[in-house]
């Protein structure tokens, strides 16, 4: 355990240079991209005087290295600044948006993992059966389908035509909910607002399914191929020779070993979905961080872009750490030191 503690400690220390690296890269890219926030805010409408006045007020007329030092100093004090567009504190903006995206991502990953792993197992156990063929074909389809198209189709069928789910949004505007954590499911549970819980869940289904497809397809294919490989190993043959049933062979002996690449894929997907749910968020008018970042990039709202990318990078690093730690549980031969 001590070795494990040291390992975790070292990994956490490694976050520091990653943090500064991300900070510097994002800052430089954001500021070197042509186009300035003043012009974009005013659109076609900027008058020369307004442009000068605003640039000065936003400190954009300072030399870039000086701007970076000022910015880094503020970040060290925990101040991510305020949005150029509306003066909102970046930390508040992220605090309201990230929960929406995390809720969506985890729902999607739940769907993707459960359905993907089950499909993969059955496909591997019944290799070359019709189920195997069909499910792998569907997985390929799911992987290559444009999310935009799928989202609209799901909306048309399940929301517009059948009316089972709402078309878009995160919660009906008629429902009162005290927003404590901005995780609506959590807020609804905390305040015991069952109506809000049901409504939030209903709003979550279609976007989560839409977002899950690509990850689901990858997970199903990865589970299948990984499990097939393990099933060919000697110790599995030994287990079968002992007279164990196929279900027991897979569930007790093969599965755990087959999971390492699957967990890696899940971890990577959680990370990328957190920053990459933009299309789904746009289709379903989901007020998440993906849209926040895209809008901020187009508006050259530097503080928002920098703050959001920083947090996404941190989440990515932490999820990767968790994935690495889970290896030891799945395969006792793996040791940290």
């Amino acid at each position: 355990m001590a070795a494990m503690g040291r390992y975790v400690g070292r990994r956490l220390v490694e976050i520091v240079p990653v943090f500064f690296g991300v900070l510097l890269i994002v800052f430089v890219i954001a500021h070197l991209t042509p186009g300035d926030p003043v012009l974009i805010a005013l659109g076609e409408h900027a008058t020369p005087e307004a442009i000068d006045r605003l640039r000065a007020e936003l400190d954009l007329d300072e030399p870039l290295p000086l701007q970076f030092i000022t910015y880094m100093g503020r970040v060290m004090r925990g101040d991510l600044g305020r949005s150029i567009q509306n003066n909102e504190r970046v930390i508040v903006e992220l605090g309201t948006r990230f929960p929406a995206t995390i809720e969506l991502t985890f729902a999607a990953m739940l769907v993707a993992s459960v359905v993907g792993i089950l499909t993969g197992i059955v496909a591997a156990a019944r290799q070359n059966s019709w189920f195997d063929g069909a499910s792998m074909f569907v997985a390929l389809f799911g992987f290559s389908m444009p999310i935009f198209w799928l989202g609209i189709m799901l909306i048309l069928l399940f929301a517009w035509y059948l009316g089972w789910f709402p078309i878009s949004g995160r919660l009906d505007y008629t429902i009162e909910l005290t927003r404590l954590t901005n995780f609506y499911l959590v807020d609804a549970l905390l305040s015991g607002t069952w109506k809000a819980l049901g409504d939030a869940l209903r709003h979550l289904v279609l976007p989560a399914v839409t977002l899950s497809t690509v990850a689901l397809a990858i997970i199903a294919r990865m589970t299948r191929s990984s499990l097939l490989e393990v099933l060919r190993q000697d110790y599995v043959r030994t287990a079968r020779a002992k007279g164990l049933g196929e279900v027991r062979v897979i569930s007790r002996h093969a599965l755990k070993n087959a999971f390492i690449p699957v967990v890696t894929v899940i971890g990577l997907n959680v990370g990328s979905l957190l920053g990459g749910a933009i299309l789904t968020e746009t289709i379903f008018a989901w007020p998440g961080v993906g849209r926040l970042v895209v809008d901020a990039i187009f508006a050259r709202d530097y503080p928002i872009v920098q703050g959001a990318v920083l947090v996404i990078a941190l989440v990515f690093v932490v999820v990767n750490l968790l994935v690495d730690l889970s290896y030891a549980y799945l395969d006792p031969r793996i040791r940290y030191g």
């Binding site: 042509p34 076609e44 003066n87 048309l156 187009f298």
Partner: protein
């Protein structure tokens, strides 16, 4: 009477502070919460009394005195008086003001030439100008001059943008950013309470999804209808497509500082090469009109005597030959990759223009950049030819002609005149028009300016885009203002 109206926009508001808003989505929110001193009439850009019951201008045009309506209260119960108006002005214009929290991007425009504001007595406000400036009064109707409660600005400080307190028809209830904002009827509104009880303004970015919400009845009205959806809405008896002439123009600017566009014959040739009517038919679903002048006919002062250059590839080729380009020439046509009311389908329109120009022998390579980059590059004059447009702020001709074609606005990097057209004759007329207080005289100056611009041809005026919105049939008494601001005070929901 009563009910909840849901208005679905393509984006949710960015800010609810009227002084700091720059995007139409925010403005549709703030304009229902804040009043201005004067306001636009329901269907034109002429102004009428609002918070100010009456006003007078001194004979030299330098002093404007407004008499405020008595007994008007902000939503927080505080009084709307002359001091409040002065406070609102100073908050925006004075960087040292303790509540100058924000970029206030429009302040420089709306308060140009304003030297000072005084509260003469409780209900009298006096604006003193540094030079006569006729468009001043229409600027006082613009959304960014909305009068906010000084008490609320002091109370919320930097967070005022999410706690808006005005005196308008709707009171702020809640804002879930990037999602929706909720308002309730201001039952004490001085112009009579709104017909609906509650107003929800949602942001739904996807065009198709927004339309589906309205078809389903979960939204009552929507803006930014996608032109290919016009037919679908017209065929649905539950829906109404409301259209009218807009207050904008899409244009192709030729950079007169670059060869060969320094030659007027070349610029006229380009004008002859373009078939505007075909563009309107193909990409605006027939809604919109071919443009002849640099300002739309919805604005007074529009010169109807100016007829556009006739579409003729032969005439264009002849002019090119005269100018020394018998085999035409190669150039670039820049286009902005962002749909605007005046440019509904940018890429397709750019491609069509490319083909039209090619028929006259002008081989244009299409060039584009993301919006922010595009604006800064065109304002620096890097383009030979560029497509852009303008949406009127206040319905004054000055807001089009002076901003877009006066030599005062050609400074590299900040130019709003991206043809870099510098005509002293036009400049003299536009300045005279700014300083004249008589509208008939101003009209004459603007008509002359339009003639000269037509002759010099720094632009191809392309299209006057329409204003378009859609709503459910049950929504009554709605008309979309030419400025495309959705004022919802008088709307009600029928059966």
């Amino acid at each position: 009477m009563g009910g909840t109206l849901v208005f679905a926009q393509a984006q949710n508001a960015v800010t609810l502070d009227p002084h700091d808003a720059t995007d139409g989505f925010s403005v549709n929110n703030t304009s229902n919460v804040f009043d201005t001193l004067v306001r636009f009439r329901a269907d034109t850009t002429q102004v009428e009394p609002s918070l100010a019951e009456s006003w007078t201008a001194s004979t030299d045009g330098l002093v404007w005195t407004f008499k405020l309506r008595k007994g008007v209260k902000f939503h927080d119960g505080t009084r709307l008086d002359a001091e409040a108006v002065k406070f609102n002005y100073e908050r925006q214009i004075n960087p040292k003001h303790p509540y100058h929290h924000g970029a206030f991007a429009y302040a420089g425009f709306t308060f140009q030439n304003v030297k000072s504001v005084e509260a003469v007595d409780e209900l009298t406000v006096r604006f003193t100008l540094s030079a006569p400036f006729a468009p001043f009064i229409t600027n006082m109707a613009m959304f960014s001059t909305g009068i906010a409660s000084p008490a609320a600005i002091k109370k919320y400080g930097k967070d005022f943008f999410k706690h808006p307190v005005g005196s308008g028809p709707f009171k702020f209830v809640e804002w879930v950013q990037k999602d929706h904002a909720t308002y309730e009827a201001n039952k004490e509104y001085w112009a009579g309470r709104p017909c609906i009880d509650r107003l929800i303004i949602r942001g739904i970015p996807d065009n198709t999804v927004r339309l589906l919400e309205m078809e389903k009845g979960t939204a009552h009205m929507m803006n930014q209808v996608n032109p290919p959806d016009y037919g679908r809405i017209r065929q649905n008896k539950d829906l109404v497509l409301s259209t009218g002439p807009g207050l904008n123009i899409g244009y192709l600017a030729m950079n007169v500082e670059k060869e060969p566009f320094n030659d007027v014959r070349i610029r006229r040739a380009v004008n002859h090469a373009v078939n505007k009517a075909a563009l309107v038919r193909a990409f605006y679903e027939g809604i919109g009109a071919p443009a002849t002048n640099p300002m739309p006919p919805t604005i007074w002062g529009f010169n109807r005597a100016v007829k556009g250059y006739e579409h003729s590839a032969e005439t264009a080729a002849k002019l090119l030959a005269e100018a020394g380009y018998p085999n035409g020439f190669s150039t670039e046509l820049w286009w902005p990759n962002r749909a605007r009311p005046y440019l509904t389908q940018p890429q397709k329109i750019a491609e069509a223009l490319q083909q039209q120009l090619a028929k006259a022998g002008i081989r244009a390579k299409l060039v584009t950049f993301e919006w922010g980059t595009y604006l800064s590059k065109t304002r620096s004059g890097e383009h030979p030819m560029a497509i852009l447009g303008w949406i009127g702020d206040n319905g004054d001709p000055d807001n089009f002609l002076y901003v877009l074609l006066d030599k005062d606005n050609t400074e590299k990097g900040k130019a709003s005149n991206i043809a870099f057209y510098k005509s002293n004759a036009v400049h003299d007329l536009l300045i005279k028009a700014q300083q004249a207080s008589d509208q008939a005289a101003r009209t004459r100056f603007y008509e002359q300016a339009q003639e000269i611009i037509h002759r010099d041809a720094p632009w191809v005026p392309l299209v006057y885009g329409a204003r378009v919105g859609a709503h459910r049939t049950q929504v009554q008494n709605f008309s979309l203002h030419p400025l495309q601001i959705w004022w919802l005070h008088r709307v009600w929901i029928g059966k």
